[in-house]
Symmetry: C2
DNA sequence: CTTGACCTTAGGGTGTACTCCAAGGTTTAT
DNA sequence: ATAAACCTTGGAGTACACCCTAAGGTCAAG
Protein backbone atom coordinates (compact mmCIF):
# COMPACT_ATOMS: atom_id res chain seq x y z
CA UNK A 1 0.00 0.00 0.00
CA UNK A 2 1.04 3.63 -0.52
CA UNK A 3 2.00 6.07 2.21
CA UNK A 4 -1.43 7.67 2.63
CA UNK A 5 -3.32 4.45 3.31
CA UNK A 6 -0.52 3.23 5.56
CA UNK A 7 -0.56 6.46 7.54
CA UNK A 8 -4.35 6.30 8.00
CA UNK A 9 -4.14 2.70 9.16
CA UNK A 10 -1.52 3.51 11.78
CA UNK A 11 -2.98 6.85 12.82
CA UNK A 12 0.09 8.93 11.98
CA UNK A 13 0.88 11.58 9.38
CA UNK A 14 2.73 10.93 6.13
CA UNK A 15 5.27 13.48 7.32
CA UNK A 16 5.97 11.37 10.36
CA UNK A 17 6.54 8.31 8.15
CA UNK A 18 8.99 10.19 5.92
CA UNK A 19 10.70 11.48 9.05
CA UNK A 20 11.02 7.96 10.46
CA UNK A 21 12.44 6.71 7.19
CA UNK A 22 14.98 9.52 7.10
CA UNK A 23 16.06 8.64 10.64
CA UNK A 24 16.34 4.92 10.04
CA UNK A 25 13.34 3.68 12.00
CA UNK A 26 11.18 2.36 9.20
CA UNK A 27 12.14 2.00 5.58
CA UNK A 28 9.21 0.89 3.39
CA UNK A 29 9.66 -2.54 1.86
CA UNK A 30 9.94 -1.15 -1.68
CA UNK A 31 9.27 1.67 -4.11
CA UNK A 32 7.02 1.68 -7.17
CA UNK A 33 8.49 2.48 -10.61
CA UNK A 34 7.37 6.06 -10.15
CA UNK A 35 9.15 6.29 -6.81
CA UNK A 36 6.16 5.93 -4.50
CA UNK A 37 6.82 4.30 -1.13
CA UNK A 38 5.22 0.83 -0.88
CA UNK A 39 4.44 -0.46 2.61
CA UNK A 40 3.50 -4.04 3.51
CA UNK A 41 2.03 -5.91 6.49
CA UNK A 42 5.55 -6.38 7.82
CA UNK A 43 5.88 -2.62 7.90
CA UNK A 44 2.61 -2.38 9.83
CA UNK A 45 4.03 -4.71 12.45
CA UNK A 46 7.26 -2.77 12.76
CA UNK A 47 5.42 0.54 12.92
CA UNK A 48 3.10 -0.80 15.65
CA UNK A 49 6.16 -1.84 17.60
CA UNK A 50 7.63 1.65 17.19
CA UNK A 51 4.42 3.35 18.27
CA UNK A 52 4.02 1.16 21.33
CA UNK A 53 7.59 1.87 22.33
CA UNK A 54 7.06 5.58 21.85
CA UNK A 55 3.90 5.43 23.93
CA UNK A 56 5.73 4.08 26.93
CA UNK A 57 8.32 6.83 26.80
CA UNK A 58 11.16 5.55 24.63
CA UNK A 59 12.87 8.17 22.49
CA UNK A 60 13.28 7.54 18.78
CA UNK A 61 16.99 6.86 19.23
CA UNK A 62 16.23 4.32 21.96
CA UNK A 63 13.71 2.67 19.66
CA UNK A 64 16.28 2.61 16.90
CA UNK A 65 18.58 0.74 19.27
CA UNK A 66 15.82 -1.75 20.01
CA UNK A 67 15.44 -2.31 16.29
CA UNK A 68 19.18 -2.78 15.88
CA UNK A 69 18.62 -6.31 17.19
CA UNK A 70 17.35 -7.02 13.70
CA UNK A 71 20.13 -5.36 11.80
CA UNK A 72 23.11 -7.04 13.46
CA UNK A 73 22.32 -10.33 11.75
CA UNK A 74 25.41 -11.94 10.24
CA UNK A 75 27.97 -9.78 12.06
CA UNK A 76 26.91 -11.11 15.45
CA UNK A 77 26.38 -14.42 17.19
CA UNK A 78 23.13 -15.74 18.59
CA UNK A 79 24.66 -15.21 22.01
CA UNK A 80 25.19 -11.52 21.40
CA UNK A 81 21.75 -11.00 19.94
CA UNK A 82 20.15 -12.74 22.88
CA UNK A 83 22.19 -10.70 25.36
CA UNK A 84 21.12 -7.50 23.70
CA UNK A 85 17.48 -8.49 23.79
CA UNK A 86 17.66 -9.39 27.48
CA UNK A 87 19.45 -6.16 28.25
CA UNK A 88 16.70 -4.12 26.60
CA UNK A 89 14.14 -6.19 28.46
CA UNK A 90 15.77 -5.34 31.78
CA UNK A 91 15.56 -1.68 30.91
CA UNK A 92 11.83 -2.10 30.39
CA UNK A 93 11.59 -3.95 33.71
CA UNK A 94 13.22 -1.01 35.47
CA UNK A 95 10.66 1.38 34.03
CA UNK A 96 7.85 -0.89 35.11
CA UNK A 97 9.26 -0.91 38.62
CA UNK A 98 9.44 2.87 38.77
CA UNK A 99 5.95 3.22 37.37
CA UNK A 100 4.66 0.76 39.95
CA UNK A 101 6.14 2.84 42.75
CA UNK A 102 4.42 5.79 41.17
CA UNK A 103 1.14 3.93 41.08
CA UNK A 104 1.49 2.99 44.74
CA UNK A 105 2.19 6.61 45.67
CA UNK A 106 -1.01 7.77 44.02
CA UNK A 107 -2.99 4.90 45.52
CA UNK A 108 -1.85 5.73 49.03
CA UNK A 109 -2.59 9.36 48.38
CA UNK A 110 -6.16 8.57 47.36
CA UNK A 111 -6.59 6.23 50.31
CA UNK A 112 -5.77 9.05 52.72
CA UNK A 113 -8.63 11.22 51.44
CA UNK A 114 -12.19 10.90 52.72
CA UNK A 115 -13.62 11.88 49.33
CA UNK A 116 -16.34 14.05 50.88
CA UNK A 117 -17.85 17.27 49.59
CA UNK A 118 -16.15 19.69 52.00
CA UNK A 119 -13.38 21.99 50.71
CA UNK A 120 -10.10 20.09 50.53
CA UNK A 121 -8.19 22.70 52.48
CA UNK A 122 -7.31 20.33 55.29
CA UNK A 123 -7.34 17.19 53.19
CA UNK A 124 -4.51 14.87 54.08
CA UNK A 125 -4.00 14.09 50.40
CA UNK A 126 -2.61 17.57 49.86
CA UNK A 127 -0.37 17.62 52.87
CA UNK A 128 0.87 14.16 52.01
CA UNK A 129 1.86 14.88 48.42
CA UNK A 130 5.01 16.57 49.65
CA UNK A 131 5.88 13.33 51.36
CA UNK A 132 5.14 11.23 48.33
CA UNK A 133 8.62 9.78 48.21
CA UNK A 134 8.46 8.92 51.87
CA UNK A 135 5.20 7.10 51.28
CA UNK A 136 6.76 4.48 49.10
CA UNK A 137 9.67 3.49 51.31
CA UNK B 1 20.15 25.61 50.67
CA UNK B 2 21.04 27.63 47.59
CA UNK B 3 20.47 26.52 44.00
CA UNK B 4 23.97 25.11 43.42
CA UNK B 5 23.92 22.69 46.34
CA UNK B 6 20.33 21.73 45.56
CA UNK B 7 21.20 21.04 41.93
CA UNK B 8 24.18 18.87 42.90
CA UNK B 9 22.06 16.90 45.36
CA UNK B 10 19.40 16.17 42.74
CA UNK B 11 21.81 15.65 39.86
CA UNK B 12 20.41 18.38 37.61
CA UNK B 13 21.73 21.72 36.36
CA UNK B 14 20.88 25.08 37.89
CA UNK B 15 19.52 26.07 34.49
CA UNK B 16 17.07 23.21 34.64
CA UNK B 17 15.88 24.35 38.08
CA UNK B 18 15.31 27.92 36.87
CA UNK B 19 13.53 26.49 33.84
CA UNK B 20 11.25 24.39 36.05
CA UNK B 21 10.47 27.39 38.23
CA UNK B 22 9.61 29.50 35.19
CA UNK B 23 7.27 26.77 33.97
CA UNK B 24 5.52 26.26 37.29
CA UNK B 25 6.90 22.88 38.29
CA UNK B 26 8.99 23.82 41.31
CA UNK B 27 9.13 27.19 43.05
CA UNK B 28 11.75 27.31 45.80
CA UNK B 29 10.31 27.75 49.29
CA UNK B 30 11.77 31.25 49.67
CA UNK B 31 14.34 33.83 48.61
CA UNK B 32 17.18 35.36 50.63
CA UNK B 33 17.35 39.14 51.11
CA UNK B 34 19.73 39.34 48.19
CA UNK B 35 17.28 37.42 45.99
CA UNK B 36 18.97 34.01 46.04
CA UNK B 37 16.65 31.02 45.69
CA UNK B 38 16.38 29.02 48.94
CA UNK B 39 15.42 25.35 48.63
CA UNK B 40 14.31 23.08 51.50
CA UNK B 41 13.78 19.36 52.12
CA UNK B 42 10.21 19.73 50.90
CA UNK B 43 11.61 20.99 47.60
CA UNK B 44 13.85 17.92 47.45
CA UNK B 45 10.81 15.69 47.79
CA UNK B 46 8.89 17.52 45.10
CA UNK B 47 11.88 17.53 42.76
CA UNK B 48 12.41 13.79 43.31
CA UNK B 49 8.77 13.27 42.41
CA UNK B 50 9.23 15.32 39.24
CA UNK B 51 12.36 13.44 38.22
CA UNK B 52 10.78 10.05 38.81
CA UNK B 53 7.80 11.07 36.71
CA UNK B 54 10.09 12.32 33.95
CA UNK B 55 12.04 9.08 34.08
CA UNK B 56 8.97 7.01 33.32
CA UNK B 57 8.08 9.13 30.32
CA UNK B 58 5.75 11.87 31.56
CA UNK B 59 6.15 15.23 29.83
CA UNK B 60 6.64 18.34 31.93
CA UNK B 61 3.07 19.45 31.27
CA UNK B 62 1.77 16.07 32.37
CA UNK B 63 3.85 16.34 35.53
CA UNK B 64 2.49 19.81 36.11
CA UNK B 65 -0.99 18.33 35.95
CA UNK B 66 -0.03 15.70 38.47
CA UNK B 67 1.17 18.45 40.78
CA UNK B 68 -2.08 20.36 40.32
CA UNK B 69 -3.53 17.96 42.88
CA UNK B 70 -1.72 20.06 45.44
CA UNK B 71 -2.67 23.44 44.06
CA UNK B 72 -6.43 23.01 43.94
CA UNK B 73 -6.71 23.16 47.74
CA UNK B 74 -9.53 25.46 48.85
CA UNK B 75 -11.23 25.79 45.45
CA UNK B 76 -12.06 22.10 45.32
CA UNK B 77 -13.73 19.49 47.45
CA UNK B 78 -12.13 16.36 48.84
CA UNK B 79 -14.28 14.42 46.38
CA UNK B 80 -12.84 16.27 43.38
CA UNK B 81 -9.28 15.98 44.60
CA UNK B 82 -9.68 12.27 45.18
CA UNK B 83 -11.21 11.76 41.75
CA UNK B 84 -8.30 13.58 40.14
CA UNK B 85 -5.79 11.46 42.00
CA UNK B 86 -7.50 8.23 40.98
CA UNK B 87 -7.74 9.39 37.39
CA UNK B 88 -4.00 10.09 37.28
CA UNK B 89 -3.40 6.73 38.87
CA UNK B 90 -5.35 5.00 36.12
CA UNK B 91 -3.20 6.73 33.54
CA UNK B 92 -0.15 5.29 35.23
CA UNK B 93 -1.81 1.85 35.27
CA UNK B 94 -2.30 2.06 31.51
CA UNK B 95 1.36 2.78 30.97
CA UNK B 96 2.31 -0.14 33.16
CA UNK B 97 0.10 -2.39 31.07
CA UNK B 98 1.69 -1.26 27.82
CA UNK B 99 5.17 -1.63 29.23
CA UNK B 100 4.32 -5.11 30.45
CA UNK B 101 3.24 -6.15 26.94
CA UNK B 102 6.53 -4.75 25.78
CA UNK B 103 8.42 -6.75 28.36
CA UNK B 104 6.62 -9.92 27.31
CA UNK B 105 7.48 -9.26 23.66
CA UNK B 106 11.16 -9.05 24.45
CA UNK B 107 11.01 -12.09 26.74
CA UNK B 108 9.42 -14.24 24.07
CA UNK B 109 11.95 -12.96 21.59
CA UNK B 110 14.85 -13.99 23.83
CA UNK B 111 13.27 -17.36 24.49
CA UNK B 112 13.25 -18.14 20.77
CA UNK B 113 17.01 -17.74 20.49
CA UNK B 114 19.41 -20.57 21.26
CA UNK B 115 22.04 -18.12 22.55
CA UNK B 116 24.87 -20.07 20.95
CA UNK B 117 28.10 -18.80 19.42
CA UNK B 118 27.20 -19.34 15.76
CA UNK B 119 26.42 -16.34 13.51
CA UNK B 120 22.86 -15.17 14.09
CA UNK B 121 22.01 -15.21 10.41
CA UNK B 122 19.34 -17.85 10.85
CA UNK B 123 18.39 -16.88 14.38
CA UNK B 124 14.68 -17.07 14.95
CA UNK B 125 14.86 -13.94 17.06
CA UNK B 126 15.53 -11.91 13.96
CA UNK B 127 12.84 -13.46 11.83
CA UNK B 128 10.39 -13.17 14.71
CA UNK B 129 11.02 -9.52 15.47
CA UNK B 130 8.88 -8.62 12.50
CA UNK B 131 6.11 -10.58 14.13
CA UNK B 132 6.58 -8.96 17.51
CA UNK B 133 3.02 -7.75 17.75
CA UNK B 134 1.72 -11.14 16.82
CA UNK B 135 3.71 -12.60 19.69
CA UNK B 136 1.75 -10.76 22.31
CA UNK B 137 -1.75 -11.61 21.12
C1' DC C 1 -7.36 14.56 -21.77
C1' DT C 2 -8.09 17.09 -18.00
C1' DT C 3 -9.45 17.24 -13.09
C1' DG C 4 -8.49 15.89 -8.54
C1' DA C 5 -6.46 12.98 -5.39
C1' DC C 6 -2.53 11.11 -4.66
C1' DC C 7 2.69 11.04 -4.50
C1' DT C 8 7.85 13.16 -4.60
C1' DT C 9 11.84 16.17 -2.52
C1' DA C 10 13.68 20.26 -0.32
C1' DG C 11 13.50 23.35 2.99
C1' DG C 12 11.44 26.39 6.60
C1' DG C 13 8.68 26.65 10.99
C1' DT C 14 7.00 25.05 15.73
C1' DG C 15 6.90 23.32 20.56
C1' DT C 16 9.45 21.07 24.19
C1' DA C 17 13.11 20.86 27.24
C1' DC C 18 16.82 22.27 28.07
C1' DT C 19 21.77 24.70 27.66
C1' DC C 20 24.81 28.43 27.28
C1' DC C 21 26.29 33.01 27.47
C1' DA C 22 26.56 38.10 29.11
C1' DA C 23 26.55 41.52 32.46
C1' DG C 24 26.24 42.28 36.80
C1' DG C 25 25.33 41.60 42.22
C1' DT C 26 26.65 38.66 46.72
C1' DT C 27 29.41 35.93 49.79
C1' DT C 28 33.45 33.81 51.74
C1' DA C 29 38.43 33.44 52.37
C1' DT C 30 42.92 35.20 52.60
C1' DA D 1 40.19 44.83 49.90
C1' DT D 2 40.18 41.81 46.37
C1' DA D 3 39.86 37.39 44.26
C1' DA D 4 37.13 33.17 43.72
C1' DA D 5 33.05 31.16 43.91
C1' DC D 6 28.73 31.75 44.21
C1' DC D 7 24.17 33.98 42.73
C1' DT D 8 20.73 37.08 39.58
C1' DT D 9 18.00 38.10 34.98
C1' DG D 10 17.50 38.16 30.10
C1' DG D 11 18.04 36.35 25.92
C1' DA D 12 20.08 33.44 22.40
C1' DG D 13 21.10 28.72 20.77
C1' DT D 14 20.42 23.59 20.39
C1' DA D 15 18.43 18.81 19.77
C1' DC D 16 14.42 16.23 19.12
C1' DA D 17 10.16 15.17 16.87
C1' DC D 18 7.46 16.57 14.13
C1' DC D 19 4.47 19.81 10.81
C1' DC D 20 3.72 22.68 6.80
C1' DT D 21 4.45 24.70 2.27
C1' DA D 22 6.18 24.94 -2.42
C1' DA D 23 6.89 23.06 -6.86
C1' DG D 24 6.29 19.50 -9.37
C1' DG D 25 5.37 14.28 -10.92
C1' DT D 26 1.73 10.15 -11.12
C1' DC D 27 -2.60 8.01 -11.78
C1' DA D 28 -7.54 6.62 -11.98
C1' DA D 29 -12.22 8.54 -13.18
C1' DG D 30 -15.25 11.00 -16.03
ZN1 LIG E 1 -9.60 14.66 51.04
ZN1 LIG F 1 -12.00 15.07 53.23
ZN1 LIG G 1 19.57 -16.85 18.11
ZN1 LIG H 1 21.15 -19.67 17.54
Amino acid sequence: MKIGEFARKLGVSTDTLRYYEKHGLLTPSSRSQSGYRIYTDTDIKQMSFILRAKNVGFSLSEIKELLQIKIHKDQHSCHEVKEMTLQKRDLVAQRIEELTRFYDSLSLLAKKCCGGEEPAENCSILTTLEDIDGLTH
